[in-house]
Symmetry: C2
DNA sequence: GCGTTCTACTATAACGTTATAGTTTCACCT
DNA sequence: AGGTGAAACTATAACGTTATAGTAGAACGC
């Protein structure tokens, strides 16, 4: 990278390392502006930060020149001096069944970060990895000002660790640890409650939830909502705990087929994701059942596939973009110590 | 962040900013190790880099202590001194019709980056943005050692710019600019050729390609493959240039319905993506046509949805994970000036 | 025993930034 | 006139790292 060459010597004898800059004009620094204006480096620095003890005329002149020569602060310098990284690290779970979700989260976060001074750093980990490892790395190297986490568990060691080390973070999802922190969550409990109500209003009396693993808080929330609503409305319910991922849809289909052949099969389904819903539909149709007639399905998704898959599916849309935007706002506020932790829930919408 | 506190003074009077570190032990630096071992900072630095002029015993001792106290190099220090950022920036197109693709790319890249010293930085831009802007930023601030680009155009100004500035980069897709650089690409030309062959072997004689925009190189490749194979096998072909995105599937469906009502409708379709394929199927079925009987569809996808959508769809799987892995390898090699640019194509597989 | 060479280390400066503690200049008050 | 104080600026050091030049001491040749 020309603009950031090793400072000491001119590079060997290689004539022009990448066919790039003729006389390599070198990236401007505060010193450049100082030389041009005849001011000291310190004054230039303070002028650009709009400090109180710099004259208005000077500020104007400095800003003008900075603009003209295309000055951009050197991140490494700032970081070394202040400890401020201007990096936000998204530590993301990279299991296939959450990837579409995550993709949208990445997109919305990085979009929300444009026009801020923060950069997005993505660190994945997979099921076999220790989820603590990326967190420890970030804390130990001080490589980010704040962290965003997803796939939150009720008792989540990452959150305890970050909180104990004073590293600002925000989560997509909630814990049950009583540690106040910024978060955004889809209200999964309301979602399953609404789903139950909808299915019951359609005459269904025996419901099944294709649920995410209950180790995840949102899985628990879904089950809670299901059980509460079913009890309240006096209908039967069960959970089918099958790992929902693209790769084992066939397996899920088989399990659902089996369920439908048992004595008292469900007539209403709820699914928390796109591929789960597709698996349910395929299994039901294989069993000769007709969606909207013999059985009904309520499904939540972040994509827009299900409406095109079968129009009979009752779809609740989750707006992940909203989550990203909020998380960025909440996290930056937390980094800049701006009031108490901001928290928000997305309310599911389902016409009854 | 404790481990990276502004160095000068102790923070105000706030008793404990985040309930974190008691006596804040401060993150170890080379100096810490130097003090412990009684060596100089320079020696410690060189010992950790396994330099030739340091004694074996010393190296061992330094490494041991470094390990013990959990030393991690300060990135800002390294970066300031050497210009090496250890960041790789994925500049990603964030249009909805490529997001699933991109999600997998992000995942595979960041996975390939684990256990390397590089970090992944994601910078999105959308259709209305100037695609050059993130590139200029990276070059001007020297914020990355290398760049990965996707959604490549035949004549792509980003590539000219990066190349002129000597910034290493790798692309997912190809240009036609004759600038040698590392890339990975799915062989879309072969894909449509195979698709045509397959459809012709099924007796289809009038083919239609739901094509990506031909401004993109891969769109052009697909059209080239289609036209060449159709000509070779003596069948008719056309391209339907509709913007394929989740959001306007309804529009695509309508357009395809219209096409089917015109005089000489296609009997074989090729689609380059998941939602396009779903739109085609929906439109055809609305017109009362049966997949696998009246018409056939060959589709490429990176997800695993289509097989579950209609088993009659002839699916070609694209393995985006492969792309990420390769791009990382090729880009890091290029950064470290390791031989000529590495390039690879994914060969589509379709049983005829 | 003196120069030479090698090994294993050290001292120093510099990368770009910013917090702090000055310093200079000038206006104003009594 | 002398002191006070504000306004506007500067000098300095430090953050953690590494490239370079330098040095101390041992080993070796003749």
């Amino acid at each position: 990278m020309d603009s950031n060459q090793p400072p000491d010597r001119v590079e060997k004898q290689e004539p022009d390392s990448h066919g790039s800059g003729r006389g390599l004009p070198k990236r401007p620094t505060l010193k450049t502006i100082a030389t041009i204006t005849g001011l000291s480096i310190a004054t230039v620095s303070r002028a650009l930060k709009d400090a109180a003890d710099i004259g208005e005329a000077t500020k104007l002149r400095v800003r003008e020149i900075a603009n003209e020569i295309g000055y951009r602060p050197n991140r490494a310098g700032v970081r070394l001096r202040t400890g401020k990284t201007n990096v936000i690290c998204l530590v993301m779970s990279a299991e296939s069944h959450v990837m579409n979700h995550t993709a949208q989260l990445i997109y919305s976060i990085s979009t929300a970060l444009r026009n801020t001074s923060y950069h997005l750093n993505v660190t994945p980990y997979s099921a076999d990895d220790d989820p603590m490892e990326p967190i420890r790395y970030i804390v130990e190297t001080g490589s980010a000002d704040g962290v965003i986490l997803n796939q939150i568990k009720p008792e989540d060691p990452r959150i305890r660790y970050l909180s104990e080390h004073g590293v600002p973070f925000a989560t997509h999802g909630r814990t049950e640890m009583g540690i106040a922190h910024p978060y955004f969550d889809f209200d999964n409990e309301s979602f399953t409650e609404l789903g139950v109500e909808k299915l019951v209003s359609l005459g269904r009396r025996n419901l099944a939830l294709l649920s995410p693993p209950p180790e995840q808080t949102y899985g628990k929330h879904m089950i809670d909502g299901l059980v509460a609503a079913a009890k309240r409305l006096g209908v039967d319910c069960r959970t089918l705990e099958l790992v929902t991922s693209d790769s084992n849809m066939t397996e899920i289909e088989a399990a659902i087929s089996r369920t439908m052949q048992e004595p008292n099969p469900p007539d209403g389904f709820i699914s928390g994701g796109t591929s789960g819903a597709m698996a349910i539909v395929n299994a039901l149709e294989n069993e000769g059942l007709q969606l909207g007639k013999d059985v009904d399905l309520v499904a939540k998704e972040a994509l827009h596939f299900l409406v095109h898959f079968r129009k009979e599916i009752i779809v609740v849309q989750e707006n992940v973009g909203q989550a990203g935007t909020f998380l960025v706002k909440a996290l930056t506020a937390s980094i800049e110590k701006d009031g108490p932790p901001q928290q928000d829930l997305e309310v599911p919408v389902l016409d009854l």
